[in-house]
Amino acid sequence: MKMVDIRTRMLLAALLPVTLIAILLSGVFLASRFGDLGEAYSQRARSLARQLATASEYGLFSDNITHLQTIANGALRESDVRSVAIVNAQGDVLVFAGKAGFNPPPVLTRQEDEKFDPVKRTDLLLQPVTASQVKLDDLFEVNAAGAEAPSPLLGHVLIEFSRDALFQRERDMLLLGLAVTLACLLFAGFLAVRLGRGVIHPILRVSRIIERIGRGELSARATVLPGDPLRDLQQGLNLMAERLESGRDELEQRVAMATLELRQKKEEAETATLAKSRFLAAASHDLRQPTHALGMFVARLAQLPHDAQTSQLIGNLEASVQALQDLLDGLLDISRLEAKAVQVQLRPFALAELFDQLQHGLAISAVEKGLLLRVRPTAVWVMSDPALLHRILLNLVVNALRYTRQGSVLLACRVAADDQHVRIEVWDSGIGIAPEHHEAIFKEFYQVGNTERDRGKGLGLGLNIVERTAQLLGHRLQMHSTLGAGTRFSLLVPLVPLGAAMAVPSPQPVETFNNLAGLVVLVVEDDALAREGLVSLLKSWGYVVGVADGLSAALSQLEAGLIPDVIVSDYRLRDDENGIETIRQLRTKAGWLIPACLMSGDTDAGLMQAAKDASLTLLHKPVRPAKLRSLIRRLAADVQASGADLV
């Protein structure tokens, strides 16, 4: 577009004056030539008429028709002459030559006359014929009147001229003029284009270079030609491009260096985090096994009869083990969340169930602390993962109970202003959190005012888990707190319309716990201590327990006639054996799908996935005895309900 614009302008600038001058000159010359032609035509016509008059003088005098006819015919041979008539003094047409259709002679006078017929485009010239005077200077020549008589009128010559040829010549001249003008214009245009190219091309070249530089192609350079009219401009452009390029390169280098530094810092930080995670994982795993065993032993110990003092000790022991297990559970949760191993399963469900569970689970501990736990009933359904939401609320309520010395804790919900969400709130009348701690409380192991790290005050993982889980679910978590006046956490959860909620089947009825005494449980565990603890616990629950330290031992047990109702296997066994494979082989050996669960001290995401793929419940060590018992009961109940499936 710009290119066309420049070219058009150049062409216009060159052609406009030339056109004007050409038209003006052509006009002036044509007009003058037309005038000359017309003048020449009329002069020729008049002169021919006069010649004819002179020539026919004697013919008219002598009344010589033949002579006059010859003259007339001769005149007719002249170009443009259409017709000739010679009229005598009396007005009689003596001779006529040429095309017919001659007008009757008009009134004849001694004056030369000329009449133009615009229709036929002819000129009729009237030429009087008088006798030519010969000066005699004679004494005899005095007529009767005494005065000199005018020369007698002999007749008239009438010639009709056609202007066709004149018009034709004028037309030819006009065409020629136009052709010349056009040729001039073409030539001028050609010259303008040729000469303009010398200017336009450099301009276009420069503008292309600028365009390229504008696009960021800073390496673009104009080729400086010796005869270029825009040489200075192009050199300046090149200089500019060079400066820009070097400036950009420098900048890029600096950015690259800064980025490199940043990356190094980031890598260092990541390495540090990784080291921390590894340390935590390793530590938790190494802690799990003994803690697991300890839990089993303490549970078994508690079942034995004791005196009051011992019982109190055992109670304390249980609390310690409980705290240890909570810590490990928390760490496990954190690592699972970090590993993104937690699968979110959103579904609509009634919030009331969740609230009930929380009330039932926590009412006792509240009462123990002398607090009032109030749960406001609700009928709303929400779209969330019930297990994860349960964990969030559990953590929040536990936290609230923990940091409240007196008063009450309130769990409630209300529909948010937009009618799309429900706001679940946990109020407490506790100590509150100072504003400077508001952000930090969500960090791992952060506890306000627990520098001595009192176990009873928890481990500082709760809010971190809450925050991470809420993020995972996409629920917004907010906290309002005033020091000394209590804290309020609120969680924004999508609301489910009541109609849609009803379509979802209600959870299965709570299973009835049968008396499972005599249930045969096969325990596969390579760690002797853990195995011992587990076996004694299971036996205390009245189960018949088969014990194996590996696959071969387990298979031997089956061969020996043991028919297990449930298999409980450690995942990591000796000699690179694992629980999943062991269970598979045992099932194959037994010929039916024996209900089984896995236990492991690893918090590895790969293991969780593998267990899930094998449809095996994975229990993380330390396994709480209550949890284990409920799982075994459920597995056994499933078998009873569906019957044994063949593999």
Partner: protein, 309 residues
Amino acid sequence: MRLRFLLFSLWLAVFAGACAHAAVAVVIVSSERSPAYVEAAEALVSELERGGLSRYDMLQLTALEWAAAGPLAPKLFIALGTEAASALAKSELRAPVLSTLLPRSSFERVLRKSGRKSSSQFSALYLDQPLSRQLELIRLALPTARRVGVLWGPESQAQAPALKTLAQASGLDLIEATVGHDELLFSSLKSVLEDADLLLAVADPQLYNSSSIQNILLASFRAKVPLVAFSPAYVRAGALLALHVTPTQIGLQAATIARGVLLGKALSANPIYSLDFSVTVNEHVARSLGLTLDADALRARLRSREGLL
């Protein structure tokens, strides 16, 4: 001697101025001051002077000056040209009038208009030549020509019978045609030219004038009929030859007559023709007609025939 002549001249001049109008003998009235009239007047005056008449005895006027002039009492009035003649004819004069340098037809017209008759009181010396002299010249110049063509016009028709007689006497045939008033000249001219060996032009302004002469000459030339005219101008225009009198010749003859009148002789009652004459030949025309003519020789022979020598 020189002084005396000067004193005499001075006296003459004073005397002439004092009695210029009172005591002139001859009054010369010219129609105009064109060369022919001046020439004729000059010849007349010189000749009279040579005869002893003083220049102061003569008064020269033009016709216009004459009309404005006071009463004069000369012994003779000489009119040069038709206009002067008619002006004098209209005046009551006690002296005789000699009209000259005018053709016969003009003089007759002047007579008719003024109601005068040719007399010793009002006579003329004709400019044109007598028909007999013209016929004689024809015979001299064109001896083979027998048939003489003549065109008569309104003013010249009166001479037709005289010419007829003269022609018969000379043994020439006349081919005649008459052109009436407002009649086309050509048909008559054509009929004459068809039969004639030559065309004799008789002075008649109705026929021969500056407008018609070209075509007449052309027609006669085409018909190979030579034109014998009455004026040298015709010869210059293409006539073969002309018999005429020059203004000087007329002036000289008029002077002779005037001298006679001054001596007491009366004017001839009948107008007279000039005694002397000239012949002019167009040699180009003569050559193209295959003729060889010598004007001087012709004049000499004609004069000798008339016994003038």
